[in-house]
Structures are given as structure tokens and as C-alpha cells.
Subunit: 191 residues, 4 copies
Amino acid sequence: MGRPPLKKKSIERSALELFVEKGVDGTSIRDIATRAGVTEGALYRHHKGKEELVRALFLEHFTRFAALIAATQAPQKSFAEVITKLVEVFFTLHDEDPPVFEFIMVARHRVLDEVRADEKNPVELIYRLVKEAIKRGEIPDQNPDLLTELMIGMVLQATVGVRYERLKPPLTKHAKAVAKACLAVAGTTKR
Amino acid sequence: MGRPPLKKKSIERSALELFVEKGVDGTSIRDIATRAGVTEGALYRHHKGKEELVRALFLEHFTRFAALIAATQAPQKSFAEVITKLVEVFFTLHDEDPPVFEFIMVARHRVLDEVRADEKNPVELIYRLVKEAIKRGEIPDQNPDLLTELMIGMVLQATVGVRYERLKPPLTKHAKAVAKACLAVAGTTKR
Amino acid sequence: MGRPPLKKKSIERSALELFVEKGVDGTSIRDIATRAGVTEGALYRHHKGKEELVRALFLEHFTRFAALIAATQAPQKSFAEVITKLVEVFFTLHDEDPPVFEFIMVARHRVLDEVRADEKNPVELIYRLVKEAIKRGEIPDQNPDLLTELMIGMVLQATVGVRYERLKPPLTKHAKAVAKACLAVAGTTKR
Amino acid sequence: MGRPPLKKKSIERSALELFVEKGVDGTSIRDIATRAGVTEGALYRHHKGKEELVRALFLEHFTRFAALIAATQAPQKSFAEVITKLVEVFFTLHDEDPPVFEFIMVARHRVLDEVRADEKNPVELIYRLVKEAIKRGEIPDQNPDLLTELMIGMVLQATVGVRYERLKPPLTKHAKAVAKACLAVAGTTKR
DNA sequence: AATGAATGAGATTTCATTCAT
DNA sequence: AATGAATGAAATCTCATTCAT
């Protein structure tokens, strides 16, 4: 094995940040190279092109995210417990590296259109949680799709609040409050 | 007078729809012209370029939105009443013309960076409502920034749910439920 | 006969001025229309297009210029008299309407390539004067081409001096001095 | 390093020639690329655009010209000596590379508007020479601005004469005659 | 006579990608 | 591994001209 690819990480990090700041379509190879302190050709040593780079970055992080999120699931846990855990996990993932979290949010539609109804899709996961909680009487009967959206909306918007400096980081400090809000909306009966 | 601007509306509508579908940077002038059934040059009779077109479309609709949203304000109304009204107004605006609503959401960061801390900014408006409600004891003492984000998150995510066909339109059908969710999160004491 | 073409003169004057200020290629139809206070189409009511407009403007004024210049010729006059008269005529034409004079200078190569070795060409005219003066012994034997260029250079550069505000107009005030310079260069022996 | 910039010189030379032949506004990027044997985009590797290319070419050569012209200055030399030297230098610069000389003439108004009253401006330099010569009694009292223009006019028109094949190159062959003409116009008293 | 929207051609510029070094 | 000149295609924009009004 030769020397480690010194610039690879730099290229990938620069790309990720720029994708968040200006969008994938708004970011050029030259933008990435400039920020990474390399020249345009260097990117092609490591990736086939811009779209492949987006895909690679997405899958690298999303896989990790999905695994951590899936691990929150446990049949014996109550709806309240799982939701609380989920919010914590989401916020921890965000705080760990906010640009990475934001990139996943930005890139998911572009990449996930191929993976749409995937079981790993957090929307699907939460939807199933809600359905089961209703069936088990943990929360009142209601439109499970709507509740899913509302909870997801609160979690995601909290990350937006941090990005625009309307909420003080770290986000994990707000996890309890947001989880409580989710349960309030769900109308959780038992604790 | 020369020919009346038959194609202006068509160009603007096509642009707006494409901006929502593929993003501003992902939409080319050619895309717009093709959908509008004109040649590329026609756009420049009416707008200086793509960025100016985005700005013009945004300001046109945002101004109308802001006026309607500001009109929900009335000093004698309770927090619950105003929030309920606001959700209704948001959802009505959405249902009226979902692409226009979505375009405003998509374009706001691009355009509003110049208008940031504007009083017309709905985030600001809701924040002030929350602060006053806390002061008047209508809702428990809490982080007003967080509550603001949570309510906004729910409202916006509901529109996303419709876009991805996870929620059945029209959105106004869900207004009552979403308003109730907002009040549940706020912990409204009086009704 | 209907109304007179009110805007025709305005278009032509605006075009002429812009051709001088920014060059023919640097001036667009829109530039002309804007300065003339009309719309783009109006020009085509009076002229076939930009090139034809240049040609028309050039020929209109050049014809008049050429006639006045040709009138300076008289067989019985001395070289000194004709040169003095010529400088006066040139400077009078310039002072009468400097933009017109400058336009003729700017456009001559573009238009005169068709008329090149024309007898009306002032260069040709002066060249013949010089040749005859040498033959008649009015001036010393010398390179007639060079003398021609030197005299033309002085006359034209004087107009440039006025344009760049290095010489005080009117130019006719300098006619005597420039004529004297021409004769000094020629080495005129008799007066 | 990547490939050495094989085509840069070719692009710049082609541009310079075309600017002289057809004017800057009459020359398209495509014209330049075609003559240089490259594609249109290649130009942008080396220059920001056409205007910047004009500026770069102008400054590169003008700086060299100005240095050589300034070097003709020496306090102990007579007006006649300096003028003779100046004409020689101008003509040598012209003969060395006529297109470069002509380009400087063509581009100077476009670029020099920013550098106008610069001391390096040859017009200024000659003006100062003339003023001093008058003060020192080397030439009769007269309008120094006019004399400056007349001398410049002769020198420049000589280069025009060569371009239009009315004067036989090389121009340096005519230097003595033109210098003599300048001194005749100035009315130099001492030799 | 004049308007000005629209066209069609082309000019300028950007950009992902390739490749010789 | 990295460079950066150059390409080829596409995007943005300009402009002379036409034509319905």
C-alpha cells in the first residue's frame, strides 16, 4: 500500500459542506476543488463524478444513521420510550456533526428516490410505530400519517432552528422537551 | 402597442413549477422555455435573468402571503384563537395553489437572506405571539424559540406530507387537528 | 403626404453619436432606440438594418464633405493657397458638427472599402496636389506619399485634440497655425 | 504540473491580430478560438473574458512601450535630439511588430480611460518636452498643446500609411524625415 | 409611424470531464 | 496522487430582425 490519499478526505468534506450551503446543483467541481485546496482533476482520482460523489457520501453516512435508528427498536419498549429514544438519537446524530446531518437531509430526495419505500426509511419506521401504538391503545385512535408528519416536522425543524441560530446548540439539550412535545401531540395516555 | 405579453404568465408559471420540481439551480432557462412553449430569449423580454425571475416571483407571492398572515393578528384574540386561525390561513394558502406555496418555501432562503430579520417574517410573528402568551399566562413558561420552531415544523411538514402523497389533500381538512397539536405542544391552559 | 417622420431624425442622430462614442460594432439597435426615445422596431421603418443605416449616414455626409473639399481645387491657385484653404474647410466641417465629422472618420474604412481608390478620397486629392507642387517646383523634391500622410496626420490629430479636450475649440481658430505647419513640413519656397 | 499552456500564446496572438483587423467589438471569442486552433472554452483558462484579455494584452505591451519611451529622456539633450530619438523609438517599436503597435493604438482609448492623465502617457511626455523647449528658447513661443498634437499626428499617421500600403516599410527608414518634419513644425532654431 | 413581444441565430460563459505531464 | 490545460457540451445571455397590433 502506498501513501494514504491525503486529499480524499478534504475533497469529500469540502463537497459535503458546499452541498449543504449551496445545494448540489449549485456547487461546481471547481467550487469543491477550490475549498479543498486541490485542482479540479483531483476529484476524479477518488470518484467517478459529482453524482457518484453525492451517492457515496450519502450512503456512507445514511447507512450509519439507519443502523443507529433501527437499533432504537425493541418490541418490549413503550411508544413513549421509543419516541424519546428516537429523538435523542436524531439529535445526537445532528450534534455529532451538523453538516453531515444536514447533508443527509438535503441529499435524501435525490438519492432515496431509488430507495423510496425502503423499510429503512425513518418515515416508514415511525409510521409503523404509530400504527402499533394505536392498535395497542397506547395513544388515541387518530390519523397515523398525520401524527407521523407532525412528529417528524418537530424534530427536523428543531435542527433548522439550530442552523439559523434561533435555537442554542447542542440540540440534545432540547431532546427531552421535543420528545415531550411529540407525546403531547400523540396524546400518550400511559407513561 | 406591440403584441400583448401572451407568454409572460406562461413563462412565470413554468418557471415556478420547475423550481419546485427540480430546484432553482436544477432548472435551466431552456427547461423553462420549453415548458412555456417559447424560445429561450423570450424570458429576457420580461426578466433580467434567472435570479431576478426567482426574486420577482418570490416577492410577488410572498408579499401577498405576508399580508394575509399579518391580518390574522388581533390584540383581543386568545393565543389559541390566533394559532388556529394561522394554521387555517397557512393551509388555505397552500391548498389554493400548492406549487406557489412550495415555491415560497424553496426560494425563501435564497431570497430572504436579504430580508432576514424582517418583521413580516412569519417566524418572527409567531415568536412574538408565543412570548406574549407566556407573559399573559395563556401557556406555561417555556423556551419560546423552541415552541416556535416546533409549531412551524408541524405546519410545514404537513405540507410536505401532502406533496409526497402521505397525507390526503386538501390540507385544510387537517387544519383543526394540526392547530390542536400546536396547542397541545404549547400546553395551552385556557381554551 | 402624411405626417413627417418625427422620429427618423432622432434615430439617425442617436445612431451617429453612439457610433462615434462606442463604435459601430459596440452599438446595438437597442442602444440607438433607447437614446432616440423610441422602441427597437422603429428603426426598421426608416432603414433596412444597422449596416444600411451606417452606409446611409456616411454617404449623406460624405457626399457633402467631398463636394466642399473638391471645391477648394482651382488650377490657378498655389499649393500654399490650396493647402491653407483645405485646412480651413476641414476644420470648418469639423466645427460645424463635430460628431458628424468624427463619424465620417470612424465609418470611412467600413464603407469606403467599396469606394477605395475613389478620386473623391481626400488622401488621393492631397497626393495629387503634392505631386503637382513638386513638379512645378513649389516645394522641394521629396517622397509625396510621406508628405501626404504627414499633412493628413496633423489635420486629423488636431480634431482628436479637440475631442479629448487638449485643444480649445473651435478648431478653425487653429487653422492658420496648422496650415503653416503643413507648409513648413512641405518646405514651401514661394508664398 | 498539468500540460504546459501550449495554446496560451496562440490565443493571445490571434486575439491581438483580430482586434487590429476587425476591432475588439467586431471580434468574437469564436473568431479568436478558431484562429488559435482551440475551442472557445480554452480562452477562459487564461483570461476572465474578452475585456480582461484586451486589458492584459494592452498592459503587457504598453508597459514595455512606455519604459522604452521614457528611456529616451535625458536632461542634457536638446529638444531636437530628444524628438529625433523619440521618432526613432516609435518607429522601431512599430517595425518590430506592427500588429502589436497597432493594437496599442486601437485599444488605448478603451483601456486608458482608467489611466488617463498618467505620467507615462506619451502625450503628456511630449507636452512637457515642448513646454521646456519653449522655456529654454529652443523653439519659438507657441501653443504647446497644438504642437504636441501636430507632432503626434505625423508620427501616428506614418504608421497608418504603412498599414494601408501607402508608405513602404520599414518605417524606420522614414524616421529621419519625420523627425525633420517635427522640428520644422516646431520651428527649431538651434540645430 | 410606431410599438414591443417574440424569434432564431449566435455570442459569451460555465462546467463536468479527460488527459498529458 | 495530483496537476491544470484543453475539450465538448450545455447554460446563460444578447441582439438584429420580424410581425401582430
